[in-house]
Symmetry: C2
Subunit: 489 residues, 2 copies
């Protein structure tokens, strides 16, 4: 007689035993995050080579799976949750956020309709409103949670497109219409690539993304924006969207939102503010000014999964025009109709974006905000900014390093610049090697950018477990790496 | 002296204690899922009214947070993880998937670049290849994980748009071009709304989504497709994309993919197959045929978070043209360049879709596949289909109910149809009330659709904990509800 495979869920005693084991594992991981090198030392193909080419026909034990997790997967992890992670933007899967994710996975709720979990929708409304207040936004703003700033900025641009009068873009599309002008959107030369990708996706086209020059502090030049829009109008283009950034990705510069807003108003452009990283700083009373002018904008994105200790993924999209967003995206097939929806008594978040299926993301942010409290969150951001200023001070005081940009938040742009070495190509080689040497220690992970074509090292502070000692160590490692290089001798 | 708020992570002893408590909570939840009514009895606004209007300034204890979770949030949860959840499509956050999510949250890895966690990228490659084999797809297929079918189908249509020769849509966009024909995409009158939403988002426009009539079994009529494409070509449109569905949302019908593929080939259309729900059945050897013809398609979506016991969110997008997808979406800013990327030695998954930031989704699917094994997963799907056929048999044998569609998978479309009641409006009222009565018991949750305008009840089986007794109970509740209705007397 052939063996009949068991049905149903895995044995729950095994689940409980493994779950307790994993909680202890996570607690130990969070307590000793420096046990692993922050940047994985894995070589391309090395992980894959250790995994079977084909899936197992029969069940395997959780012990075997977790042994492989430890032995094969862990060496291939770059530790974003490590206090020495200073690359890109520092982020945190904090302890309360991890517990929130555990509950979200267990409930496995789809937050597409109010009916498909009233608490998921209403907690999302509540937490978004809490966050709105924390950011100092007026009650005119309404929000929705998405998986990331790429989705949030795409929603913004799609709503802007939808708001163009008399063009009926949702229904008629963009192509093959005699009445459709060429569209134009405006970003700065520092804007995140996701906004350009949104223009590609939405059919605006990459060449219709006009990159406005930024000034010496990497802030969009309003006069250049006005000139570009005027020239495009004269040339028959239809400008409809501009993105200003609070905390650009390379240098964390802050575009002059009030001036950009005035131009947006003059030319009737939708103003989207990308505060994916820097917007969070507005929860600190002394930094509230970073969102100055945003009340004149049409939409805003801030990502709690960046600098608010919430595990990936959770981006918040706010707009003063939820009705337009809804007109751009709402589609209600019969199989999703419900009495509450028909009565317009509830909000169905599926109406406010591309995604129908949506995770219950509000739970983890609710737990993060309550665990630390608003003042506690603000204190942690303040400390990150203090550490960044301290590091910037060391750079400024050094004869061998130079700062490459102002430090309005928690990111320091700098590079080694030994006396007498003024060839940009040589400086790029030197600093590239410096980063590689520092990252090879396993103690910190830093990444680079280019500012005005100049290769730049970035120290991005954002992990909740990052302390003064980690930042000091990063500086020591940079200096040591420079000393050890033959080019610098 | 003002109190200085503590910095850093929450107390890890608290984390460990709460984590153990939550693991026991989840184990009990999974062991006794019927403790809660499956459809929440919450009324609009009821949850929100119990939550504070403003966030707390100071920290709150995990005990307080979890008490609110139990007392406020839980009553507002519609239990997708309940074995009596038969609405929409039945899904499962299975025990190994929940453990996978716990680890994903703890690591908090961004799987955008290979470098940002080699194991996240290489496990995604491996698990996608495992799943490809499980579905019986040839090695010509390459995949990427997304958050849902809405994103996956949008990627498909964007790639199709990109593949149009000589139009350079990525760069030039769609609008205001004399050389740009009006674009057309083809779906059936049963296709999921997300494909129409993709056309709206991508600028194709809702009126350029041609809905091909389906036959009496709700399968797209290939002859009607051919006629529509020919007519559009004659009228100067540019047809470029067709979507066939394996397991439509209303009735789980299967479009004739081989015939659609032949037409797609003839007219050079990109053929996307939406197997978000039904595609998973192909892992059952006897059901492998449901993907017949897919080798002639250009892309395919199957969602492990639907009928493969993986917690939300995880959709798999497969294509035979990863190069075209990459051309449609890849953007590499300086701050994301790495040596491995420059050497083209690795895959960076951010190149294959809208999203830059990406959760480490492969881990949970890896743990699900290994825990149950391929044969074990197939056995569970087989059992779901057996239970659906059994329920369909009861409907067929009843004088008071009628079946509304064939049952190729695990969903039964049916309705009460008492002898002599032939007015469609009366039948709609009756069946709407029947669903409400059944759902009010808290034992099961069913949803509806309309098929050929006729109001239809759906019983969708898909939870790993659903057993014969739950399906039998659903049938008893339907019969009891009908008996109790004055209309049916």
């Amino acid at each position: 007689m052939a063996e009949i495979p068991p049905l149903g869920e895995m044995n729950l005693d095994d689940f409980r035993r493994t779950g307790h084991q994993l909680i202890d594992w996570v607690a130990a991981y969070l307590a000793h995050p420096e046990a692993c090198p922050v940047l994985s030392r894995s070589r391309p193909g090395e992980i894959k080579a250790q995994l079977p080419d084909a899936p197992p026909a029969g069940p395997e034990s959780m012990d075997d799976i977790l042994a492989d997790f430890e032995n094969i997967i862990m060496p291939g992890i770059t530790h974003w949750n490590h206090p020495g992670f200073f690359a890109y933007f520092g982020i945190t899967g904090s302890a309360p956020g991890i517990l929130g994710e555990l509950l979200t996975a267990a409930l496995d709720v789809n937050a597409m309709l109010w009916r498909t979990s009233p608490a998921a929708t209403e907690l999302e409304e509540t937490v978004l409103d809490w966050f709105r207040q924390m950011l100092g936004l007026s009650a005119a703003w309404d929000g929705v949670m998405t998986d990331g700033a790429s989705a949030s900025s795409l929603i913004a641009m799609a709503a802007a497109r939808q708001s163009l009068p008399n063009l009926h873009i949702r229904v008629k599309g963009l192509a093959g219409r005699a009445d459709m002008p060429r569209l134009r959107v405006y970003i700065s030369d520092q804007t995140h690539s996701s906004v350009e990708k949104a223009a590609i996706t939405l059919g605006v086209g990459q060449e219709n993304v006009v990159k406005i020059e930024s000034d010496e502090a990497f802030q969009m030049k309003p006069a250049a924006l006005e000139t570009a829009v005027s020239a495009d109008l004269a040339a028959g283009y239809r400008p409809f969207f501009v993105c200003a950034t609070v905390g650009t990705t390379s240098s964390t510069s802050i575009d002059p939102v009030p001036a950009v807003a005035a131009i947006a108003r003059k030319f009737n452009l939708w103003l989207h503010v990308d505060g994916a990283y820097g917007g969070a700083a507005a929860i600190v009373p002394e930094k509230r000014y970073v969102l100055a002018g945003v009340e004149q904008a049409d939409s805003l994105v801030v990502n709690p999964h960046k600098w608010l200790f919430t595990p990936l993924d959770l981006s918040t999209f706010f707009t003063r025009h939820p009705d337009i967003v809804r007109r751009a995206f709402s589609l209600l097939p019969e199989y999703l109709r419900s009495a509450e929806t028909d009565a317009r008594a509830v909000k169905d978040y599926m109406d406010y974006g591309v995604q129908l299926g949506r995770r219950f993301r509000a739970l983890k942010l609710w737990m993060v905000i309550r665990t630390y409290g608003v003042d506690g969150l603000a204190a942690r951001l303040t400390e990150h900014m203090r550490l960044a200023r301290q590091f910037a001070g060391w750079v400024d005081d050094s004869a061998e390093f130079e700062r490459m940009a102002p430090v309005p938040f928690s990111v320091v742009c700098f590079r080694a610049h030994p006396a007498g070495m003024d060839d940009e190509a040589a400086l790029e080689r030197l600093n590239h090697k410096l980063i590689e040497a520092v990252n090879a220690t396993g103690e910190v992970f830093m990444s680079h950018t280019k500012l005005r074509g100049r290769y730049t090292v970035r120290l991005a502070i954002g992990n909740i477990r990052t302390e003064a000692a980690h930042v000091k160590r990063a500086w020591e490692l940079c200096r040591a790496a420079l000393q050890s290089m033959p080019e610098a001798e």
